[in-house]
Amino acid sequence: MVGIDEFFKGQHTGKQPSKARATGTSRKRKEQPVNSASNPINLEDSEDEHTLEAKKPSNQLKAGVSVEIVDEEPQPRKRQRATAPAPKAKASSPKKSPKSKIQSAEAGTAEALLSQIPSVDLDAVHVKETAQFDFRSNGNAGDSSQAAAEEANFPEGAPNCLLGLTIVFTGQLPTIERGVAEAIAKRYGARVTKSISSKTSVVVLGDEAGPKKLEKIKQLKIKAIDEDGFKQLVAGMPEEGGDGSAAEKARQKLKQQEEKAQKDAAEMIKVEEEQREKARRVQSKANTADKREPVREEDKLWTVKYAPTSLQHICGNKTSVNKLKTWLSNWRTYQKQGFKNAGRDGFGVFRAAMVYGPPGIGKTTAAHLAAKELGYDILERNASDVRSKSLLNAGVKNALDNTSVVGFFKSKHDGDVNQKNFVIIMDEVDGMSGGDRGGVGQMAQFCRKSSMPMILICNERNSPKMRPFDRVCLDIQFRRPDPTSIKARLMTVAVREKFQLDPNIIDKLVEATRGDIRQLINLLSTISTTTKKIGHENAQEIAKAWEKNIALKPFDIAHKLFDGRIYSDVGSKSFPLYKKIELYFDDFDFAPLMIQENYLQTRPSVLKPGQSHLAAVADAAESISQGDLVERKIRSSEQLWSLLPFHAIMSSVRPASKVAGQMAGRINFTSWLGQNSKMGKYYRLLQEIQYHTRLSTSTDKLGLRMDYMPTMKKRLLDPLVERGNDAVPEVIQTMDDYYLSKEDWDSIMEFMIGSDKTDLQIKKIPTAVKSGFTRKYNSMVHPVAIYKTGSTTAVGAKPAATPDFEDIVDADDNVPPADEDEESKEDTDFKKDKLIKQGKPKVASKRAGSTAKKSAAAKKRKTK
């Protein structure tokens, strides 16, 4: 533990021979009161001043300086850095030596130094016209490897010299790339934010800064400097941010942090020792009973060793953890009320809670700790157990009404009710897969009637698999914690393991692992085997090596492929073609569909000179259609799967490259699936109609749709609209002529599109007419041309009961006629029936007729 001071200083001293002034300040730092905790930092105090006294830069600074490294406000920069523009890296200009200019800076404060650096004339700054970031303008040379070189090229400042400053970068800096500049600022302890606020201490302005930002700068009267100014600032500032008040506060905060890490570590050791002591005692007591030796502390994984031991230790997600705890602690009360009373927070109706969020952020731990702290016994089932419906019934269901044996005996002594009870923790609910048949449904069932609290844990709450849990569980979301909340914990671990970890680079690591604490601790543990230090030197490569590779979801694939930046000359270096192809392979069923769905929605940024948007879209469309040709080869009987990479290019990468740019709206899920099934349905309907009408028409499906249907609609619908009830017999007559059933009538109406669309017209028909039509139709017996299972039998007076004889002999059975009037017609109809016998007839109407009349009947029908 003695090493703590050296540890935090180590990173400072190693870097640069500090100037005399720097050592002076660091001495000063030691002198300052240590118990800074008693000296609360007030952020707000100067908030109003700065507008009044804004003219003096020093005041602005004081006002604008924000204190911390540990600020709670969510910061956009994390994300932004991840998507940070590809290194633009111009052939770097010869390094300027701003140091010489700076030597004169006497006072060690940021304020003083800043006042020496010339402000940028805001009005002279070239304002970007379009709000779009254009890559072509700056991307003619350079590659990513130069970015690192540039960072090296940058004047080196004293360690932590920007401590306490809040810096905003905007626009394009002339020689260094923005991401690099931000990294530099962070390395020296500054806080980098994206948006300008009253807390901003200084703005580094580049070319083409957004007009809004300039306005804000003017409004807030914040000091604006250019890149050279920034260099001067870095080079000129003394170690630890000088003696400005802001730096002071920041230092105190940092100090606090160190102390906390130290304290936590010490505490942890203490607890550990206690435990060991206890274990030893227990073992000596029951030496013979329990032969198992305890696992040595150093043989544990770090993730186990440093797992949180109480709910307070969980990084981030405080509200979620509290929610869980409140719910669980009130569970008995809710139960007494029969889960009827929702209560103020609405927790009261739930017997189960669903904790969800990405992996590695402590969901399972939180559930276990919450149960433990409230004295519940835990019954856990996870994905390594079979959880099918029957097994859940056999295993878990019984437990629902049981009491815990352990708790039962314990509770005799201290009378804690909870101890007699279980909490059931179902881990990895979304991991139920093959072999867990019916598990999800059964589990949801339990959630409705369980008499034990249940905590369910999953990663993807939104997946369709989790549907059954909607509204039966209290949803508690865990989010990825932000770097600041992880920082303290990691520092504690580092201190404990005597490992040098530069607090300023934790952000970078957090970003690489996407906020996964477990992974971060694993990372530390692995790296610590060979080296005892993570600093700026190796942070970059470590972050890269540990970046998680995860197969993307269709939405992310489309989003990435449509990003215009990756197709520019520079962008294609940092995100080369093979990576784009890999995107396709992340989900090669959906990627092409998603591209096809969304390619019209972009604002292309990579148009060739003189090319219109429309032309680009045409190119893309052509490519997609050619991709379909390829796909047919792949998926048809030929199964030429070796063409898959080619399909990747033609169906996804190439079309996307033509129209890539900013998305105009949000990315839609492919509608192809829906359309395809709709198409299938229409084909089925058309097929059916064609079967029925085959006797009186002479065309194929397509012809039927194109030529017959418009006319049919005129004959079948228009009379009803115009003449109402009078037209009904006529319409029915037409239908019978074509062997159309009532369902066919509906289908035909559905087929009409455009100006013929029938919805409105059908609405115009009075209900009386409509029902009259239906009644009349049903009351009659109709000829049916083709036997088709189920769908074509007449619903009328005589259901198709005895049809099959007619195939062989003409039955002479008389059927009670529906209507005298219809007699003759029906007669004819029947003859038609006989006609169709050559096909595959099934006759619904049983009107008598003779076989000999076949041809006569046909003739007769024609004359009709």
Partner: protein, 322 residues
């Protein structure tokens, strides 16, 4: 023992597979880390990912051997893609193994090695999650895979991820020379060059090619090596695609064709090469790939003629604006 008898004995890749971590070629930093782990014990859960033939499986098994020594047979469970690794196996076999008691020296744990883990189903991987955590005091897991993105995120989060990079040519060469010495192989320098050339950083491929050449021709020289290797060399194809004029390009192609490479092999190599052809702008490359792809399609349909490929080259030179 004569050289002939040796050839029948074992594939050289197996015969010369390193048994100690220090013998593994390349990726020094990672290997040192593994050596340190082998020394100290307390192996974390591991994911080793990288291209084929760069020593992933070898390093895992070396590590296990060095950690466990004689206890290897009982304290290691090794499953690869040839074994059934469905969800049932994970729930039964692996879980039981994790629960098994095994006397090991302090700091040593049972190890489950899952080779080619990227071919495990997502369900099976899910089932591993809690097992890895609950039994972490006695059992550690090591995964080897080609693409780490096929491992589900929760597992990645539980593991130390080690990425192996391609081997450098001189690293391959050093190892090849060792083998050559041990096997007393006759070789010429251009033969070795050709082997390294064709292996593209894949140690296993290099050794296999070496052995095949020796078995087939006895002497390892450039000509013999290229006879063994079935697909045209990427560099030649690259030269063909980048040729400043169509005539040159066609001449190079004719050379390839006369060596007897099949049209499919040529066209697939073309595709692969063009994909990574950094000399040409990406937009142009996409057009080139389009032409190559359509030629590929036609060749697969059965028209794998000289004319077909010559036509493809002509179209490519048109696309490139020559």
């Amino acid at each position: 023992m004569s050289a002939n008898a040796l050839k029948l004995e074992l594939p050289w890749v197996e015969k010369y597979r390193p048994h100690l971590l220090k013998d593994i070629v390349g990726n020094e930093e990672t290997i040192t880390r593994l050596q340190q782990i082998a020394q100290d014990g307390n192996m974390p859960h591991l994911i080793i990912s990288g291209l084929p033939g760069i020593g992933k499986t070898t390093s895992v098994s070396c590590l296990a051997h060095e950690l466990l020594g004689n206890a290897y047979s009982q304290a290691v469970l090794e499953l690869n893609a040839s074994d059934d690794r469905g969800i049932d196996v994970v729930r039964n076999q692996i879980k039981q193994f994790a629960q098994k008691k095994c006397s090991l020296p302090p700091g040593r744990h049972k190890i489950v090695i899952l080779d080619e883990a990227d071919s495990m189903t997502a369900g099976a991987q899910q089932a591993l999650r809690r097992t890895m955590e609950i039994y972490s005091n006695t059992t550690r897991f090591a995964f080897a895979c080609n693409q780490s993105n096929k491992i589900i995120e929760p597992l990645q989060s539980r593991c130390a991820i080690l990425r192996y990079s391609k081997l450098q040519d001189d690293q391959v060469l050093r190892r090849l020379l060792e083998v050559i010495q041990a096997e007393n192989v006759q070789y010429t320098n251009d033969g070795l060059e050709a082997i390294i050339f064709t292996a593209e950083g894949d140690m296993r491929q290099a050794l296999n090619n070496l052995q095949s050449t020796v078995a087939g021709y006895g002497l390892v020289n450039g000509e013999n090596v290229f006879k063994i290797v079935d697909s045209p060399h990427p560099l030649i194809v690259k030269r063909m695609l980048l040729a400043p004029s169509l005539d040159e390009s066609l001449a190079l192609f004719k050379e390839l064709w006369n060596k007897g490479y099949s049209a499919v092999d040529i066209v697939t190599t073309c595709f692969r090469v063009t994909k990574n052809l950094d000399e040409i702008k990406e937009a142009v490359r996409l057009e080139m790939i389009r032409e190559i792809g359509f030629a590929h399609m036609r060749i697969l349909e059965g028209v794998g003629t000289y004319l077909q490929l010559a036509g493809m080259l002509a179209k490519i030179s048109k696309v490139r604006g020559l």
